[in-house]
Symmetry: C2
Subunit: 553 residues, 2 copies
Amino acid sequence: MARSKPKVRIVPLGGLGEIGKNMTVIEIGRDAIIIDAGIMFPANDMHGVDYIIPDFRYLLERNDLRLHGIVFTHGHEDHIGAVAHVIEAFPNLPMYATPLTAGLVEVKLRDAGLMQNAKLNVFKSGDVLKVGPFTLESFHMTHSIPDCAGFAIHTPYGLIVFTGDYKFDNTPIDGKRPDYAKLAEFSGRGVVMLMGDSTNADKPGWTPSEVVIEAGFDRVFRRATGRIFVATFASLISRVQLVANAAKQHNRKLAIAGYSMTRNVEMARKLGILDIPDDMLVDLGKISSIPPHELVIMATGSQGEPSAVMARMAYGKHRLLDVQKGDTIILSSHPIPGNEEMVSRNINRLLQRGADVIYDPLEDVHVSGHGRREEMRLMINLVRPKNVMPCHGELRHLHLHGKLAVETGVPPENVFVVENGQVVEIDKYGVRLAERVPGGYVFVDGSGVGDIGRIVIRDREILARDGFLLVAVNVSRETNQIIGQPEIISRGFVYLRDSDELLEQVKYTIEDVINNTNSSNGRRREKLQDSLSRLLYNETKRRPMVFSVLNEI
Amino acid sequence: MARSKPKVRIVPLGGLGEIGKNMTVIEIGRDAIIIDAGIMFPANDMHGVDYIIPDFRYLLERNDLRLHGIVFTHGHEDHIGAVAHVIEAFPNLPMYATPLTAGLVEVKLRDAGLMQNAKLNVFKSGDVLKVGPFTLESFHMTHSIPDCAGFAIHTPYGLIVFTGDYKFDNTPIDGKRPDYAKLAEFSGRGVVMLMGDSTNADKPGWTPSEVVIEAGFDRVFRRATGRIFVATFASLISRVQLVANAAKQHNRKLAIAGYSMTRNVEMARKLGILDIPDDMLVDLGKISSIPPHELVIMATGSQGEPSAVMARMAYGKHRLLDVQKGDTIILSSHPIPGNEEMVSRNINRLLQRGADVIYDPLEDVHVSGHGRREEMRLMINLVRPKNVMPCHGELRHLHLHGKLAVETGVPPENVFVVENGQVVEIDKYGVRLAERVPGGYVFVDGSGVGDIGRIVIRDREILARDGFLLVAVNVSRETNQIIGQPEIISRGFVYLRDSDELLEQVKYTIEDVINNTNSSNGRRREKLQDSLSRLLYNETKRRPMVFSVLNEI
């Protein structure tokens, strides 16, 4: 009797229904690999959270799984940012990445002190990877960073094609075009599932090539009479090349500001991926010796992040860089959803300090790295998948990608729009939804990973909205009456020094409740807090947290 | 000897360098009027603030000014929302507004219990207003609400043309076209200053007419098989008319959800500005009797505001409305900067509940009410101002509008890009910057107006990020040693129940500091707080606020 073929399972732990923290597990029977391990930036109401990593409890709990490795599609934070967390949990796990991605992963692991025993394997896109019993055919894709790979994973039921982030850029900066031939060839061999980028599913048409920025930069460089700053993401390596090219064209030197961008540029130059001549680069500490019109400075902080170079310049807090009259500042990125406010504020501040600030749509200084609707259609028509599982994007993007797949000929019942944690199973009978596993957020705050959850965040929300008030009272054990003056501590509620009347009412309420309540300390405390909350709400229409310390002496 | 002509002063108290809370004072000698009194929505980091009103201390402090009235350009919140605050401060101030604007102002004053003695005067755009010694020629403008007016204010040095919010809509929903003739005529009489809308100064070309939405709605209505919801701003009266028209076309009844929208629609219908037949309107409580495909529901909450109808539906918390499979929800607005995250979250939630959600750019269901760059150029060429002062917009928009004015022929030295509080003076020698007056934010939080300032907001920010920890300790007056167990209260920092080890370290630190410090209570308290802060930072890399109560007994 023939052994039955093992089940294939797709376990999405991140990236579905959100922008960021991409992580997917692919299982064949009891063998498994991970694709990507990214972070996500917190929403505005996730107070105090530094970043978010995928919840990979599922992997920790499935002791029966043989985990063979982690493969990376490309080197952006939302795909590699959580690598140190994963390697901490699975110290011997082999990693597979293209040269630039491997370089950027190495930077992360080195910072976390985990590089020494790391099993980091480098492949070239186009290579066939053997990861344990898995066979992955990698293929080159274009995006906003060089060296991107997608994977066709062999399974008993056909290929799973995992695109990674992509757009079809026919004139990429590094000249390496998308591997159409391979994608088309997969279609002939049978693709059981296409897992495709959905980020721009609400945008019609095609995303422009990176080269349109070349012309945009050229126009800005031509006009600029002083220094030029270009702000973008630290890992947008293609953009660095474009800026270097423009600098060469216009006889300007190039300086890099910002720790992560400096390290990434070093790494990419070492690997020969970035082509910047030695004599063009200048140290940030030495830029004052160069005439303004002969200088370009690339910097981080295009998202308005308070700790990055651009924001520090905007607020006059950078050690080496200040805004000078005549500076031209190019923001070569779009705000990530949720960052719009910080970005606008930064632009306004930079203008206030006398700079000229150029951003899209004022000039073509940024294009998205993700394909739009026509590119998604092209992908489906190249690959001809039996089933489609939209990946990478908010829920609305997944839905729209799903609808688009149906319009492009995929039967509705073969489209799997699911959220993180929803397992999808493939066997000889077809594809179906299986169980749900944890797929939520793990908050990283300071040195804590996952130690703050909903309760702490909810408390922070309440404190942020209305602050707190605490009263400490000494009560006589004998007479049951207050001794001395209560101590009152409050922050974030009202400015107490200007609130004499309210303070008097608070004191009166304390006396009233303590001196007139004959019950247990606990009960009395509760009653005091209730009375104070009511008083504060009536007087201010605010609901601060109220605490009391009753000290029986 | 001829009396010398009085100075003219423009005192911007709001709307410059920000989106919202528009308020401008115009003075001729000692006589003054106010144009508009709007509110602004708080930024994401203005924790707990409900809304922001202009700081009009200047007016309260200038006892020598004769304030003659307040004139309104149109009925949006950012132009009339603070009217009750102004009338509370100046109870007898006459108000001047077009019929719809007056109706919307009346709703506000009634809610604030201030309508009884209100001196609300209604004019029609085109009328010449006499406000004390001021003469204002009003002119009709198009925007996203009917009944918009601009003003040409007579001064000894020529006209000040104040556009208000506008776009040049040649096919407005209500058929009332912009008053080009009047604008052109002003140019012949001499315009000393143009104060123009800058909102879309970073957008090339022209803003489409409101009618493009008509076609967009028609396509969506044609496809929809179930109920249709249209979410927009409560005061976007033109949009309500468009929806009513589409409803009529497609034989659907119309229900209105949301307190403020319901009141605004009532008011606009009473004034004959909204044309909705009685038998088309249904009560929200009775919609269950109407087949889904015969119903449209207009609702508030297109900005994702948690308390509005759409967000309550998205979270399954609306008393009467739930999302049903087959519902089509149109978001007929763009997110206000800073709201993008809430809006996306809402869209995703609504999709999750089974609705189809339509938003721009998926379909033409919204256009801006503000003119783009070509319209700004047209305005300048119609009016031919000697000087230009860009209004309404963030600093970047004001800058761009200023540059555009220069490109359109206004000498650079005649362009006044200023921020709130910067007084601009006009006399026979020309125009120049004068002193600065307060022009910042007044926060409204609960029932408090202006009682929370930077300090409280900064405390809320710290509490939001890392929470607080408070320890209460009894210390013996005799032995100087701790009595009993310290009490520890903490919120928003870590989840204490899961932090036994940290708690032990906190207790140890308390004992160590108290039992080994021989100094004043105040000094000891300081030392304890310092030690605890250091401990908590070392252990968690977080910086909660730390408080202590030392009780000597």
